[in-house]
C-alpha cells in the first residue's frame, strides 16, 4: 500500500478480547507499551503480524487488533520466518518467553538471529514457567527454589544478551517492565532496525517469581543499579549522576567520578553501532549496574534481502523464462 497510513491511537490496536493475565502481571505494561508504540511506526494496521508460541507471554496476539497467530510451543521464530519471507512488507513480531524462546524453542531462536531475518523478537523474561505453574526455566537463577527445584535450581542460566550476540545478533535491547515509555521507544527502534531485533524484557511474574528483579528495579535502588544506555552518550548512572563505566584494560568496571582521580573523560561513550561486538558482549555480562536500553544496533543485510538479490540475479542468468521452458528443456524426444 503506497498511500499514507491513517493516524492511529493506541485504541486502534486494542482487540475485543478480555485480557486474562493475573492482576499485577508485568505483561500488562508490555501490552500497553506496544499499543502505544505501533501508532508511532508509520505503518498500516493490516501490516502488523504478532506471532507467539505457548506460555503466558504467548497470549499477547489475542489482545492486539492486528493479524495474529498463537502457534505451538517454541516455534514462533520459525513460523514468523515463513510469514516474513512470504511478505517482506509486513512488520512481524515474535512474542515469546524464557521457556518458550530459550528452552523448547532455543534452536529456532539462535538460527533466526544468525540469519538476520527482519523480525522483532520480544522475550518476556520472568525467569520462571508461569502457565505450567512454577517450574524453573533456562533463565532461572542457580539455587532458585521452584516447584521442580524444591532444594534449589542446579542448572546455570542463559544470559539472553550473551546468547544473542553469540548468535551473531545485530540488535539487542533490554528493558525493565516498569517503564512503558522507554519500552515503547525501544519497540519503535526495534521495528525501525532492519534485521532480527531482540528485545528482552525483565518481566515480573507476581504469582510464581514475584520480585525477581527488585534488586534492580525497586525505587530505592534503581538509580544505582540500572545503567540506561543511549547511543553516543556517556555511560553515566547513579542518583547523583556521578557514577560511570570505564574499561580498565581487562574488563568494564563501575567507578565514581571524582574518586581516585577518575574524571568524566575516563567514562566510556556508548557506541551501539560498533560492528565489533566485544564491548556489547561485555555490557550484556555486567550485573552491577545492569545495563538497559539498546546495547547493540548494527545494520547488516537481512536474510530476505540476500534472498531477493540472489533470486534477481538468477532471473537474469536463467535460460528458463517460464515453467514451460523448464518442462520442455534439455533432452526431449517425440513419439
Amino acid at each position: 500500500m503506497s498511500t499514507q497510513p491513517p493516524t492511529y491511537t493506541f485504541k486502534d490496536f486494542v482487540s475485543d478480547q478480555e485480557v486474562r493475565w493475573c492482576p499485577g502481571c508485568g505483561d500488562y505494561v508490555i501490552l500497553r507499551a506496544m499499543q502505544k508504540a505501533l501508532p508511532m511506526m508509520g505503518k498500516r494496521r493490516e501490516d502488523f503480524v504478532f506471532i507467539s508460541g505457548i506460555g503466558c507471554s504467548s497470549r499477547f496476539p489475542y489482545y492486539m487488533e492486528t493479524y495474529g497467530f498463537h502457534t505451538i510451543h517454541g516455534r514462533a521464530p520459525a513460523i514468523a520466518t515463513g510469514v516474513k519471507l512470504s511478505n517482506p512488507a509486513l512488520s512481524v513480531w515474535v512474542m515469546t518467553g524464557d521457556g518458550d524462546g530459550l528452552a523448547i524453542g532455543g534452536n529456532h531462536m539462535i538460527h533466526v538471529i544468525r540469519r538476520n531475518v527482519d523480525l522483532n523478537v520480544v522475550l518476556f523474561n520472568n525467569k520462571i514457567y508461569g502457565l505450567t505453574k512454577g517450574q524453573f526455566s533456562p533463565t532461572s537463577d542457580l539455587g532458585q527454589k521452584t516447584k521442580s527445584s524444591p532444594y534449589g535450581n542446579t542448572q546455570p542460566p542463559f544470559n539472553f544478551g550473551e546468547l544473542t550476540i553469540g548468535s551473531a545478533g545485530q540488535f539487542y535491547a533490554r528493558t525493565p517492565d516498569n517503564n512503558p515509555n522507554d519500552m515503547a521507544d525501544i519497540f519503535a527502534a526495534a521495528e525501525k532496525h532492519k534485521g532480527t531485533s531482540v528485545v528482552e524484557i525483565l518481566q515480573n511474574c507476581v504469582i510464581f517469581n514475584d520480585g525477581a528483579y527488585d534488586s534492580y528495579t525497586d525505587k530505592t535502588v534503581r538509580d544505582d543499579m540500572l545503567l540506561y544506555l543511549k547511543h553516543g552518550e556517556k555511560m553515566i548512572f547513579g542518583k547523583e549522576k556521578n557514577k560511570g563505566i570505564r574499561f580498565n584494560g581487562r574488563m568494564l568496571e563501575a567507578v565514581t567520578i571524582g574518586e581516585n582521580g577518575i574524571t568524566e573523560d575516563d567514562i566510556l561513550v556508548h557506541d551501539a553501532h560498533d560492528y565489533n561486538p566485544s564491548m556489547h558482549f561485555m555490557l550484556t555480562q555486567m550485573d552491577n549496574p545492569l545495563p538497559v536500553g539498546i546495547i547493540r544496533s548494527v545494520e547488516t543485510p537481512t536474510y530476505e534481502e540476500r534472498m531477493a538479490t540472489q533470486a534477481e540475479s538468477i532471473k537474469n542468468r536463467s535460460k528458463y523464462k517460464s515453467i514451460d521452458d523448464l518442462l520442455f528443456s534439455g533432452e526431449t524426444y517425440s513419439v
Binding site: T81, G82, S86, L90, L326, Y333, V335
Partner: protein, 620 residues
C-alpha cells in the same frame, strides 16, 4: 534376455525387452553409466524404467561389499512399468559388485566383468577365497571377462593423464561394450560428455576414446556372437522426457503454484531420500519460489505454516523420521485450517531404519500420527511420472479445501525414472484457492464455504480482516478461543466432515482390467508398476483378475465399496505388514481381505506377485 527374441534383422537379434544392471564401486560412476544407457534408449523410442541402488555410506572403503553402487535399466519395445526383476546383463566392475549382484542374475544370462580387478587383494575385500572367474562357479552364465582397466588405460596412454584420471574412464569402456551389444549409437553420450567436460578438453577426449574402444572391442570380440536390438515402443504420441520421481514432484508444485496464482514456499530440512526435491526447487527461485533450508524438520514445516498463513502455496518435504518430528505442527495446520502440503518420501523404518531403501510403512503415521482427532487428506503417487500429477493434486486439494495434505511417495519411485509425456502448464486444470474475502464483505475467520466447508483465507496485509488464529480450540465462525464442550465436539466433527467431503472432488477408482472377476488386486502408491505388470500378464493368460490401485487414501474414492463388491477375492498388496489392509478393514468391514506383504526395503518383484496371484486363482 527375454525369450521372445524373434526376428533376425541384419545379424541383430530383436528383443522385446531387456534388463541391464551396472554395478561397481561408489566411485566408479555407475549411476552416470546407467543413465546414459537409459537416456540413449529413450531417445530411440524405447519405454524405460530405471532404478539406482546406492549405499547409505557416501564414501565406503573402495572395493568393499558395502561400497557397491548399482543402476538398473529396463528398456523395451513393450510397455515397461518396473525396472525389472531379473537381470539379463550384469556389468560388474569389481569382485564386490559381482558378489552383491549375482543373485539377481538367472543362469544362462550374461555377466560382463572387469577381469583386471579380480586381484587377490580385491577378491579378499569381497570375501572370495578363490577367483570365481577361474574356479568354474560361473560356468552356468555367459561370462565375459574383459580386461577393462588395461584396455581403457591403453586407449589413452599417450595422453599423459595421471593415474586417477585414466582409471576414471573405465566406466565408459563398459558402456561402450553394452552400447554395441544393444545397437545403441554413441552420439548422445558424446554430446553429454562434451557438456560435462567441455572445460577440460583432455578429459573429454579421453572419455570419448575409451567409450569408442569399448564399442569396438565388443564388436571385434568373438565372445559376443551377435548384437541385439530393441525397437521403439508404442507410446501415446507427444513430446517426452525422462523424469525422476523427485524432480517430477518439484515440477508438479511449480505448475500448481503457477495455476493457482500463488507464490510457492518450501520449508525443508535435508533428509534422504527427499532432499532432491529441495535441491530442484532451490534452482528455480526466480519462478516465484522461495526455498528455505531450516535448522530442523520442525522449523521446516513451521516456516511453511507461516508462509501459508501469509497466503502462499506452502510445502514441506521429508521422509519418515522427519514426518514424526512434524506431527505437532501438522496438528496446528489442522486446527487453524490452513492449506499445507507435506511430502513424505518413505524409506525403511522405524527410527533411522534403512535410509536408502524403499518401504510403505508410514501410511498409518500419515493417517493417525498426531494428538487428538486430527484428520488430514492423504494421497499417494504411483510412479515417477505420476509424482508430477499427485504433487499438483495435493496442492489443489490443500488450497481448495483449506487443510493439510500428506503426499506419500517412496524411495523407489522418488529415485526411479521413466518417460514422462510433457504437458504445458496451460493444459492443466486451474486451481481455485479458497477465495479471500472482498474488502468490506461480511467475514469471520471461520466462516465456511457451505459445500466444501473450507474457511475463507484472509492474509496479513489485507485491510479490514485483521484476525487471530491459533492452536487452541476455536469457536466455529468467530474463531475465538472456546473451551465449550459442545463446541469442541462440533468442531472435531466438522474438521472430519470437511476432509470426508473431499471424496466429492476426487476421481472415482479406475480398474486395470474387467469390472468384476475372481480376484481383485488392491495396491496403493509406488507399487503400481510391479502390480500392473503382474496383473496384466495373468489377464493375457485369460485370468479374471483386475487391479484397483489407490492414489487417494483419505478420503477414498466414492465407488470403492461398490468396486470391491464385484470380486470374489480381494488381496491387498503393500510393502509393510498390512497398514492399508487395516484401513480397509475398518472402512469396509463387510469384505474379507487377503494380504500380500513384503518388508525387505525392496520393491515387489513381478515374479513373486505373479506366483502369488496364480496360487490364489488356482486355489479357489
Amino acid at each position: 534376455m527375454s525369450d521372445t527374441a524373434t526376428t533376425q534383422d541384419k545379424n541383430k537379434i530383436r528383443l522385446d525387452r531387456v534388463v541391464i544392471r551396472f554395478a561397481g564401486d561408489s566411485g566408479d560412476g555407475m549411476q552416470l553409466t546407467g543413465s546414459q544407457f537409459s537416456d540413449t534408449s529413450a531417445m530411440l523410442g524405447n519405454d524405460i524404467a530405471t532404478f539406482p541402488n546406492y549405499p547409505a555410506e557416501i564414501r565406503a572403503p573402495e572395493g568393499s561389499i558395502y561400497g557397491v553402487s548399482g543402476f538398473q535399466v529396463h528398456i523395451g519395445e513393450v510397455e515397461i512399468s518396473t525396472p525389472g526383476d531379473d537381470v539379463d546383463v550384469l556389468v560388474a566392475m569389481n569382485p564386490a559388485a559381482l558378489k552383491t549382484n549375482i543373485s539377481a542374475v538367472q543362469h544362462g544370462k550374461t555377466i560382463i566383468v572387469d577381469a583386471d580387478e579380480f586381484t587377490t587383494k580385491n577378491l579378499g575385500k569381497a570375501g572370495y577365497s578363490d577367483n570365481p572367474l577361474e574356479d568354474g562357479t560361473l560356468s552356468a552364465y555367459n561370462l565375459i571377462p574383459a580386461p577393462i582397466t588395461q584396455l581403457s588405460r591403453g586407449a589413452i596412454k599417450e595422453m599423459g593423464l595421471d593415474n586417477t584420471s585414466m582409471n576414471r574412464t573405465r566406466n565408459m569402456f563398459a558402456l561402450g561394450m553394452v552400447f554395441w551389444m544393444f545397437s545403441r549409437p554413441l552420439d548422445y553420450t558424446i554430446k553429454f560428455l562434451e557438456k560435462k567436460f567441455g572445460h577440460k578438453p583432455q578429459i573429454f577426449e579421453a572419455n570419448v576414446k575409451v567409450l569408442k574402444s569399448g564399442y569396438h572391442y565388443a564388436e571385434t570380440m568373438e565372445l559376443l556372437s551377435s548384437a541385439y536390438t530393441i525397437l521403439p515402443a508404442k507410446m501415446t504420441g507427444g513430446t517426452y522426457r525422462i523424469l525422476m520421481g523427485n524432480t517430477a514432484i518439484a515440477w508438479g508444485f511449480l505448475a500448481a503454484a503457477e495455476r493457482s496464482g500463488k507464490h510457492l514456499f518450501l520449508g525443508s530440512y535435508p533428509i534422504t531420500p527427499a532432499s532432491d526435491i529441495l535441491h530442484e526447487l532451490s534452482e528455480h527461485q526466480h519462478f516465484g519460489v522461495t526455498t528455505f533450508q531450516a535448522e530442523d524438520e520442525i522449523a521446516g514445516i513451521c516456516s511453511a505454516i507461516g508462509a501459508s498463513f501469509a497466503g502462499n502455496l506452502a510445502l514441506t518435504t521429508t521422509s519418515g523420521p522427519g514426518l514424526a518430528l512434524k506431527s505437532e505442527a501438522i496438528g496446528l495446520a489442522v486446527m487453524t485450517e490452513l492449506p499445507l502440503v507435506i511430502v513424505n518420501v518413505q524409506r525403511g523404518g522405524p527410527s533411522t531404519g534403512l535410509p536408502t531403501k524403499t518401504e510403505q510403512a508410514d501410511l498409518l503415521q500419515a493417517m493417525y500420527g498426531r494428538n487428538g482427532e486430527s484428520p488430514v487428506i492423504v494421497v499417494a503417487a504411483s510412479s515417477p511420472s505420476n509424482c508430477f500429477d499427485m504433487a499438483y493434486e495435493a496442492s489443489r486439494l490443500a488450497l481448495e479445501h483449506m487443510t493439510p495434505v500428506i503426499l506419500l511417495t517412496d524411495g523407489y519411485i522418488a529415485n526411479g525414472s521413466a518417460p514422462w509425456r510433457i504437458r504445458s502448464v496451460n493444459d492443466l486444470e486451474p486451481i481455485k484457492p479458497a477465495v479471500a474475502p472482498l474488502p468490506g464483505e461480511e467475514w469471520l475467520p471461520y466462516l465456511r464455504n457451505p459445500e466444501t466447508l473450507a474457511r475463507r483465507w484472509a492474509t496479513p496485509g489485507m485491510p479490514g480482516f485483521e484476525h487471530r488464529i491459533g492452536g487452541l480450540e476455536k469457536e466455529d465462525g468467530t474463531g475465538h478461543i472456546s473451551y465449550d464442550p459442545e463446541n469442541h465436539e462440533h468442531m472435531v466433527k466438522l474438521r472430519a466432515e470437511k476432509v470426508r467431503r473431499v471424496e466429492n472432488y476426487i476421481p472415482e477408482l479406475q480398474l486395470d482390467g474387467a469390472e468384476s472377476g475372481d480376484l481383485l488386486v488392491v495396491g496403493w502408491g509406488g507399487t503400481y508398476g510391479s502390480l500392473h505388470t503382474a496383473v496384466k500378464a495373468l489377464q493375457e493368460e485369460g485370468h479374471a483378475v483386475s487391479l484397483a490401485h489407490f492414489h487417494y487414501i483419505n478420503p477414498m474414492p466414492r465407488n470403492t465399496r461398490e468396486v470391491f463388491s464385484r470380486f470374489k477375492q480381494i488381496v491387498v498388496c503393500e510393502l509393510n505388514l498390512g497398514q492399508f489392509a487395516t484401513l480397509l478393514r475398518s472402512s469396509f468391514p463387510e469384505f474379507p481381505y487377503l494380504q500380500y506383504n513384503k518388508v525387505q526395503g525392496l520393491p515387489f518383484t513381478v515374479f513373486e506377485l505373479n506366483a502369488h496371484f496364480r496360487n490364489l486363482l488356482n486355489a479357489k
